[in-house]
Each structure stands twice: as structure tokens, then as C-alpha cells.
Amino acid sequence: MKTPTTLKYSKTHEWVREMDDGIIEIGITDFAQSELGSLVFVNLPEEGDEVESGEAFGDVESVKAVSDVISPVSGVVVEVNEVLLDHPEMINDSPYEAWMIRVSDITDEDELLDAEAYDLFCETEGS
């Protein structure tokens, strides 16, 4: 799967989509979902929860493992993709469409990589 050039990426394998009116979407990358294997459950925060850059806001479960999902920004959760709760496999099938949370009131943002830099990072450093 090609890494979309319209998104930005973190070193912990989350992607960020900047939407209109200062809201951003966060999900996990193809690299992450393929490392984790078939996902069976997703733990997401609630609307109104605060997220902090560099801290976990939720996690994804496969049969044999749990992995934190790290927020690259600080802000407030305005929407949660509840469909994922019943269909976590959407993250495996279309990782770049299966957004997990939408965040607004961004105060702090980690340094993010563009598609090319992220691909290079995956090749050299791995997970």
C-alpha cells in the first residue's frame, strides 16, 4: 500500500490528516496494522476527553497483543469513530480511511514526517 502524500506521520506509526477548521484526524498506518495482525478490538477515548502529545489516547488489540496509540498532538477529542468498535478490521483493510479520533483546539504538535521521510524511517528503523 502506498503511503499517502497528503498525510503526515509520527515515528510511532500514527498518521495525521489536517481537515478544515483546525480539526485533525488521527489513525494508524499500514505498517502498524500489518505488524499487529488482525485487529479484534479498539479502545477509544470519549468525546470531550483531552489528549496529550506523546501520550496514549487508546489502544488496539489483536488476539495476542495490545498496542498503545499515541497522540501526536495535544487537544480535545471532538469525534470518535464508533464504527471501529464493532468493525476493528476496517483498520486492517483501509488504515488510511479508518480514522480513530478527530481532535480540535490543538495546542501542541509533535514533529511529524512527510510520506517520503516516513517510508525511509520504516525501512531503516522498523517498529
Binding site: S38, V40, E89
Partner: protein, 476 residues
């Protein structure tokens, strides 16, 4: 196999009770449930056949070699079972007057005495019902001691990254924060990293020795000293005691409290996942904080006493008493020379099997081990695509229970092998041949392993579906 509900036929049953010989009373209608519970209705013969069928699809220690690393699947002596079934133990109510249960109290007292001797501790509580439960009680002991001294700033417990998952989970349950300390490439505690990790907020350390790689850490004296110097206490996870019982004692290594898994080290049966017991022992200075009551002997009479600063109970009544009966019976059977004989042969068997298969398998834990060793299939997977899981599943086809899979976490494609002392030389030689054969198959015919097991009652279950769409009970 049919579910028992699928064998059910309305109106079937057995007559276990006589008719009521007092006037029958009904409870007020408003209190009664509207629908009877849909329990199965089977005759006794169907019940027996049902469970006979289930037994045929259950692999026990009585069925074959069971080298499940970290679980110590040793033989479960029948005498222990018979003694635990004596009516003088089973038909005793836990709240009887103590002068009618002096025998039970003596069982607890003697077991405590022997376990103190074996572990180098001063007091034991038999309340914890499993290893994880013991870990919880042990950490609460440490916590109670710190709180009593006013050490409220000590909020962290150090745990090596090779630890069993129960350790950090227990740390959280006890209200502490886990500090992971890395292992060296030999799987031992990195002393420099440990020195960095301790400080004013260190409450203690949780460690098992030998560790989860099956290696005895020779620096253990230094490790416990580092923690003590920093003001913390040391907790011994006794899961691996089978390697060293009678050879070395955690109390002499600098540990302040321990838990034991009697269903591992002391031969009480695993029962398909319990009941076991996780007695917790401690040095005298921690004894006042133990869960109560404990058994004391005064003028030849056994009495129950609750320690003055007890942190409370971790379960009802006295713990898994009948399991402690089995423990006592085992210790009496082995005795002074039998206990070190068991551990020495556990270590011998493990090294022997390691030696026999090390030409074919990469041993992550090195050429020498204690009672268990860790194989890694990382290279095999890179070269042939065959994983640890595939190897484990193929071993099933040869009538062997697979070793523990994917543990410890810091070894890729791990299989942990623990042969135990109750296996014979012939069994070990046979097992070695099976291991070699499976390796050969992995290289010559990987597909065979990917599809294994072939000779088991079922093939590989779809675990993803089981987790995504949980069906956790029968609905007609």
C-alpha cells in the same frame, strides 16, 4: 462433541434427595424468579458419558510429556489426592471451634514450618489462592511496611523486562508504578541499569531467580543489596523454585518476601487451570503485616491470631486448605534429601534435553540452564517461514504437549522447555528425537507444519473470529 445442553431431554434427571419431610414452604410470589434456569436435564449415564468424552479430548500429565516452561508440570502423586479427600479434612466447616479442628490447624502450621525452612523465611500465610494472588499479597505486605514507616513517596516497583505478565499487572493492582529494567543480552539483570533505576521513590523489586530464561543470576546478592541500600524491599516470585529448592533459599539471597506456586513446585495438580495456591512467606519484620488469621502454637494448642498490623484479607476463610494438605503430603514424602534431589534432577533433565537438541535448535538462553531453557525459532522463520507456533502445533501430532509459546517476550519466536524431574531418560530421548524430526520437517516440508496439528481432535481454531465476534455461552 455435543454440549451437555445438546444432550438434554426435558424431564430427565436423577433422584438425589428424599422427599421433603417437613411442611413445604414457598417464598412470597413477588420474590420468586419468573423463569427457571435452563440447566441441562440429563440422566446420570448420559452425564458420565458426556464427561468421559470430554476427558478423551483433554491432555493431562498422565497422558504424556508436558514440557510447559514456567509451569512445572511434574507428576501429581495419588497419595496427595487421597489425603486431601479424607472426610476428616473435607467435611470440616471453616468456622468450627478451634478445638475441633486442631488437625487442620496443624496442617497449616506444619506446612508453614517446612516452607519456612525451604525458602529461608520466618512466617507464611496460606490465604493466597494462586501465584498471582500471592504476588498481590506480597506487594501489599511491602506496601504496608512502607506506609507504616511513613514512606509515602515510594511509589515504584522495579520489574525486569523479562518478567511474567502477572508481575507488572500485580504492581498496578497494588497501587504502584512499574519501572522496567532491561536485561543484558544474556538475559540477566543489567546491574548498571538497575543502579540507575533505583532512587528515593523505589518501594521494591520483583524478581524471579532463576529468571524466565531459566538462568540463575549470580549477581543476586548485589541486586538485592542495591535495592536495600536504596530503601526498598525485595520480592521473590517463586514460580521457578523447582530449579533451586533445597539448593539455595530466597531468604539467603536477600529477599524479604516470597510467594510459591504449590501447583508447580510442590506437585499439587493444575486441575485444568486451578485450584492451586500461592502461599506468601516473609521475614520476621514483615510478619506483623500479614493477612490474618495465622496459626500460632501455645502450650501445645493451635490458635488463630490476626497479626497486629495486618493489611487485611485477600480472600475468605483460610485459603485453599485442601491444596495445602497436598503440599504437606508431598513435602513429607520428599523430605530432607528428596527436595534437593527433585530440583537437581529437574536441572539435570533440562540440561540433558538442551544438550540433545542444541545442534538442531538455537537456544536463546545459552548452553547451560537451570530447570528450563528457551529455544528461539527466529532464524528458522526467516529461512523457511516456519514459526514457533507452527513447531509447537506439529509437536502435538507426536503426542507431546508443546512447550510454552512466545514467552519470555524479549525472545523472538520463543518456545520455553521445562522437562521436570519426574520424566525418565527414555522419555527425554524420545522427546529429543521428536524435536529433531520436527526440525527436519520444517526444513523439508514447511507446509506440513503450517497446517499442523493433523492428528488432534480439532485443527487450529479461528482466534480472530472468537475475539471479534465473541460467543461466550450456549443459546439454543
Amino acid at each position: 462433541m455435543k454440549l451437555i445442553f445438546e444432550r438434554s431431554y426435558k424431564g430427565r434427571g436423577s433422584a438425589h434427595l428424599p422427599k421433603c419431610d417437613v411442611p413445604v414452604c414457598q417464598l412470597p410470589e413477588s420474590m420468586m424468579r419468573s423463569e427457571k434456569p435452563a440447566l441441562p436435564e440429563v440422566s446420570e449415564i448420559e452425564l458420565v458419558r458426556h464427561y468421559t468424552e470430554l476427558e478423551k479430548q483433554t491432555f493431562g500429565v498422565n497422558d504424556g510429556f508436558y514440557p510447559l516452561g514456567s509451569c512445572t508440570m511434574k507428576y501429581n502423586p495419588r497419595i496427595n489426592e487421597e489425603m486431601a479427600a479424607l472426610p476428616g479434612f473435607t467435611n470440616i466447616h471453616p468456622l468450627q471451634n478451634t478445638d475441633t479442628v486442631q488437625g487442620c490447624m496443624e496442617v497449616l502450621y506444619k506446612a508453614e514450618e517446612y516452607l519456612n525452612e525451604i525458602t529461608g523465611m520466618d512466617r507464611f500465610t496460606m490465604q493466597p489462592s494462586a501465584g498471582a494472588h500471592g504476588e498481590f499479597a506480597g506487594l501489599l505486605l511491602i506496601r504496608a511496611w512502607h506506609l507504616h514507616k511513613g514512606n509515602t513517596k515510594r511509589t515504584k516497583i522495579i520489574v525486569p523486562d523479562s518478567a511474567h505478565g502477572t508481575n507488572p499487572a500485580t504492581v498496578s493492582m497494588a497501587g504502584y508504578e512499574t519501572v522496567n529494567v532491561p536485561s543484558t543480552k544474556d538475559g540477566l539483570v543489567d546491574l548498571d541499569a538497575l543502579r540507575e533505576a533505583v532512587g528515593e521513590n523505589t518501594a521494591g523489586l520483583m524478581l524471579t531467580n532463576p529468571n524466565t530464561f531459566g538462568l540463575f543470576d549470580p549477581n543476586i546478592g548485589e541486586i538485592t543489596k542495591i535495592i536495600h541500600d536504596a530503601g526498598g524491599l525485595c520480592y521473590y516470585d517463586g514460580a521457578n523454585l523447582n530449579a533451586v529448592m533445597g539448593q539455595a533459599r530466597p531468604g539467603d539471597m536477600g529477599f524479604d518476601c516470597v510467594h510459591l506456586n504449590v501447583h508447580k513446585t510442590f506437585s499439587t495438580p493444575h486441575g485444568g487451570g486451578g485450584p492451586g495456591a500461592g502461599p506468601v512467606g516473609c521475614k520476621a519484620f514483615l510478619a506483623p503485616f500479614l493477612p490474618g488469621p495465622v496459626v500460632e502454637k501455645e502450650d501445645g494448642v493451635f490458635k488463630f491470631k490476626t497479626p497486629e498490623l495486618s493489611f487485611g484479607r485477600v480472600r475468605g476463610f483460610h485459603g485453599n486448605f485442601l491444596v495445602i494438605v497436598k503440599t504437606l503430603s508431598y513435602i513429607l514424602s520428599l523430605g530432607r534429601e528428596g527436595i534437593p534431589e527433585a530440583s537437581a534432577n529437574a536441572v539435570l533433565n533440562a540440561n540433558y534435553l538442551l544438550n540433545r537438541i542444541s545442534d538442531d535448535y538455537d537456544i536463546a538462553s545459552g548452553p547451560h540452564c537451570m530447570h528450563e531453557f528457551v529455544i528461539t525459532l527466529e532464524r528458522l522463520q526467516k529461512e523457511t517461514g516456519v514459526s514457533a507456533l507452527d513447531v509447537a502445533k506439529r509437536l502435538i501430532d507426536y503426542g507431546m504437549h508443546p512447550p510454552t509459546m512466545y514467552f519470555p517476550l524479549n525472545v523472538k519466536e520463543a518456545l520455553m522447555v521445562e522437562p521436570v524431574e519426574t520424566e525418565s531418560l527414555e522419555t527425554l530421548d524420545e522427546a529429543a528425537e521428536i524435536f529433531k524430526q520436527v526440525m527436519k520437517e520444517a526444513r523439508e516440508n514447511p507446509e506440513l507444519l503450517h497446517g499442523a496439528p493433523h492428528n488432534a481432535p480439532i485443527g487450529r481454531p479461528d482466534e480472530v473470529n472468537a475475539a471479534r465476534n465473541p460467543v461466550l455461552k450456549y443459546t439454543p
